[in-house]
């Protein structure tokens, strides 16, 4: 294939633009206009980003194509608001009218938004697929969002009941549902993802990060016969409305094991954060390797360290920047104080801080796109190859209707599903 076209990529490879030229402009414009338009421009910004990333991702010699519109996302967002606003008002009024209901209003809202969020994730994916072209062939997604919500809810409940042991199987099951309902033209993708594939990375994450925490909590419960005294926390005599630890329990197993739980949490929760990129890299690789389109299948050699570098670079840049800003602001504040320049200089300092704040936000936003998004994206694309790529030539276009952007607007209103999801 591609016998004639002098295509830069070897057949069967997936590559992403080396230099990412023009991306900074998109990010700066997107951030500033979002600021000026009270955030409304973000739908056009996301669309520009996607068009950029899709068109710079060259799959088997042909770049992808994103045909979505900011307007579609914005209309979807308005419709989502029309649905969500009355719900919020009803929940607010309920909490107001029946104060006993107020404590449960939070959990009810959470459950409701979780269900709606899963729905939005699936339908948002459908919108993105139907706006994606490759070699002039439109991608698509079928399957039922309600079925997906049911599946996700069932698996999450099981995961909670098993204290997280079922997590890999949940991920695999949902991945299979998503991929098996993804279409390229008339060809259906298939996924053979199984929980066992990601059991090892998950167990490592689980044992290192969550295991000690669960163990210490269990020890606490066992040591106290699974009962926490009701007067463990008493009203602080010094501070009304605050609660303090009841000194009567000092030195009891309860206090000792409680301290152990606190120390374990302080050590292992940050550790858990450090292990997330590792798990995500392993999962992405396993699920990519499990995906196929007909007899053409994906092959990924993604390394975990490729998911760490972007975060490390980003963090170091931000720390360096903050140190520099702190020195500049602290120095000028000191100068103003010692030289007694009065309110004029103070006002200048305040203005300087506001400008520095907005400038920092802009810088972080651009840096995030350039460092984290680009590098994660490239880590996935550049380690992926397509085996038996000739089989893709047989893919035929479909006459499916395109999905509407309404449901992705819901995803935005609920803040689920990022603009650019890494992997499938």
């Amino acid at each position: 294939m591609n016998a004639v076209g002098a295509v830069p990529a070897r057949p069967g490879t997936v590559v992403f633009d080396r230099q990412a030229k023009g991306l900074t402009g998109i990010a700066v414009k997107g951030f500033l206009l979002s600021l000026a338009t009270f955030g409304i421009y973000r739908f056009w910004y996301i669309t520009n980003l996607r068009r950029y990333f899709w068109s710079r991702t060259i799959v088997a010699g042909s770049p992808g194509e994103y045909t979505g519109r900011g307007k579609e996302l914005f209309l979807g967002f308005l419709v989502a608001l029309a649905i969500l606003v009355p719900i919020y008002i009803v929940l607010f009024a309920l909490g107001f009218a029946y104060p006993p209901l107020a404590p449960v209003a939070g959990p009810i809202t959470f459950v409701f938004l979780f269900l709606l969020g899963q729905y939005a994730i699936f339908r948002g994916r459908r919108y993105r697929a139907s706006r994606t072209f490759w070699r002039g062939i439109r991608l698509g997604q079928d399957g039922s969002a309600l079925a997906y919500v049911g599946l996700a809810t069932g698996w999450w409940l099981l995961t909670l009941v098993t204290l997280g042991i079922a997590f890999p199987w949940m991920r695999a099951s949902l991945e299979r549902y998503r991929i098996n309902h993804t279409l390229v033209g008339e060809s259906r993708m298939t996924s053979t993802a199984r929980g066992g594939m990601i059991l090892k990375p998950w167990l490592l994450f689980y044992l290192v990060a969550l295991g000690p925490l669960f163990a210490s909590i269990l020890a606490l419960l066992v040591a106290n016969d699974f009962s926490i005294p009701a007067d463990l926390m008493i009203a602080d005599p010094g501070k009304p409305g605050k609660f303090v630890f009841n000194p009567d329990y000092a030195g009891t197993p309860l206090a000792i094991y409680g301290g152990v739980v606190a120390i374990v949490a302080a050590i292992f929760i940050p550790l858990a954060l450090f292990l997330i990129p590792y798990y995500r890299a392993r999962e992405t690789r396993a699920f990519m390797n499990a995906a196929a389109l007909g007899t053409a299948c994906l092959h990924s050699t993604l390394k975990a360290r490729q998911f760490y570098w972007p975060y490390i670079v980003y963090m170091l840049s931000i720390l360096g920047y903050l140190a520099a800003i702190g020195i500049v602001l602290g120095g000028s504040a000191y100068l103003i104080q010692t030289s007694g320049l009065g309110t004029g200089a103070q006002a200048l300092l305040v203005v300087g801080m506001v400008v520095a704040y907005l400038g920092s936000l802009l810088l972080f936003a651009v840096l995030y796109v350039r460092v984290i998004t680009v590098r994660l994206w490239r880590a996935v694309t550049d380690t992926t190859t397509i085996e038996n790529v000739q089989a893709l030539d047989a893919v035929l276009a479909s006459s499916r209707r395109t999905a509407s952007g309404l449901n992705e607007g819901l995803a935005d209103a609920l803040d689920v599903g990022g603009a650019l999801e890494i992997g499938f």
Binding site: M1, N2, V4, G5, A6, V7, P8, D17, K21, L33, S34, L35, A36, T37, F38, G39, I40, Y41, R42, W44, R51, S55, R56, I58, G61, S62, P63, E65, R69, L81, F92, F96, A97, Y98, P99, P100, A102, W134, R135, G136, I137, V184, G185, A235, P237, G238, K239, P240, G241, Y357, L361, F364, L392, D393, A394, V395, L396, A397, D412, D415
Partner: protein, 393 residues
């Protein structure tokens, strides 16, 4: 006709008019995708006065005006015809440059309507209107909605808030020395008689070392005992009560809840997804709510002065007690003044004295005996330490 073909000059490679002077022909190879299958078809691309694409069983002939290019990373270029699924991909730089020069509508977006500027202006207009609704519309709406809240609902709400506030204050004991309580009840009854309050106020005095009084939904007024201790005359104490009844009359607590909910909702609506918006929403909501609150305080002051005068007291006494209990009575205007829930005490006192006018000679709301009795209302209760200085009457 001339105008239409003259447009290619804009792109810089002027001098060749496609229809009149034969342009230099460029031949390149590429790949055609027919939009029906993903099979790549090797083709030869010939750019002359029109674009001719030929290959095995393929013969396309496109007008240069119809050609559109998709976004790609140079040197890869993907072209097609508006409205057609056929795409041709190539990496020939000279051909790409020639197409850019000769196809006037190469980068035209056929579906795009309206520019970014229009979007920006409309968004700013929408944002400003939501902001104005938050600042001016919500308090009006809250004022209309508050009286519509059914009595049982407001009662339950008041009960719940009462419990929360009392526990927030550290469960200060209720002062109910019987003789003093009856003096208080008589005083309240006399002050509120014919005042047309939405409900009969329930005044409770609690032993607490902070000079403060609060009005809660459902006409519940909590007075902390330090107010009583710091009041030198019965008029001063009654002035505080009258101020709180001003809040009851205006249904301020219920209005404040509705206002706070509405404002934070509207602000997070327009600032929803912006980085750092939580801070902006927080400060904005605090500023707007405090603005309403200051207006409500001024109204309650005016109401209190009038009520006190009706009950036979001296309105100016409210100013005196406010100055006494407020530690920052002399505070100058500061940059964070817009966040204050209460106006500056100095300004309040001036306004109150203005409204009260001349002091009525020899009149007090309570006789000296009753006043003595009332001051003993907390005699039986132990003291509570002072901590909460955030709220003022």
């Amino acid at each position: 006709m001339f105008e239409a073909v003259a447009r290619p000059f804009r792109s810089g490679r002027g001098g060749t008019l496609p229809m009149t002077v034969p342009a230099e022909a460029i031949v390149a190879t590429g790949t055609l995708f027919d939009g029906r299958s993903a099979r790549p078809n090797p083709v030869t691309i010939h750019l002359g006065e029109r674009l001719e694409i030929t290959g095995a069983g393929i013969r396309e002939d496109w007008s240069l005006f119809d050609i559109r290019a998709g976004e790609t990373e140079p040197p890869t270029m993907r072209i097609g015809v508006a409205g057609s699924p056929i795409r041709v991909e190539f990496t020939h730089q000279a051909l790409a440059a020639a197409l850019a020069a000769r196809c006037p509508d190469l980068r035209v977006d056929d579906e795009k309507r309206g520019g970014v500027l229009r979007l920006v202006l409309w968004s700013i207009a929408a944002g400003v209107s939501v902001l104005l609704a938050a600042i001016y519309g919500v308090p009006v709406a809250a004022g209309i909605l508050a009286p519509l809240v059914p009595q049982p609902v407001e009662m339950r709400f008041g009960l719940a808030v009462d419990g929360q506030i009392v526990s927030l204050l550290g469960d200060p004991p209720l002062c109910a020395e019987p003789a003093a309580k009856s003096v208080l009840d008589r005083l309240v009854a006399r002050m509120t008689e014919g005042a047309g309050l939405p409900g009969d106020p329930v005044v409770s005095i609690r032993r607490h070392a902070v000079a403060n009084a609060l009005t809660l939904p459902d006409a519940r007024v909590i007075v902390l005992s330090d107010i009583l201790a710091k009041s030198k005359t019965p008029d001063e104490f009654a002035g505080i009560l009258a101020h709180e009844f001003g809040h009851v009359a205006a249904r301020d607590p219920t209005r404040a809840v509705i206002t706070a909910g509405g404002v934070s909702f509207l602000l997070s609506l327009i600032l929803g997804d912006l980085t750092g918006s939580t801070v902006i929403v927080g400060v904005g909501q605090a500023a707007i709510s405090a603005g309403y609150s200051r207006d409500a305080e001024r109204a309650a002051d005016a109401y209190g002065v009038a009520m006190l005068a009706r009950a036979g007291g001296d309105g100016a006494a409210l100013a005196a007690v406010l100055e006494r209990i407020d530690s920052d009575a002399d505070t100058e205007a500061s940059p964070t003044g817009f966040l204050r829930s209460h106006p500056y005490t100095r300004d309040r006192a001036v306004k109150i004295r203005d409204l009260a006018g001349e002091k009525p000679q020899g009149r007090q709301v309570l006789s000296e005996d009753d006043w003595q009795t009332l001051q003993g209302i907390c005699a039986a209760e132990p003291a509570k330490p002072a901590t909460d200085r955030n709220q003022r009457p």
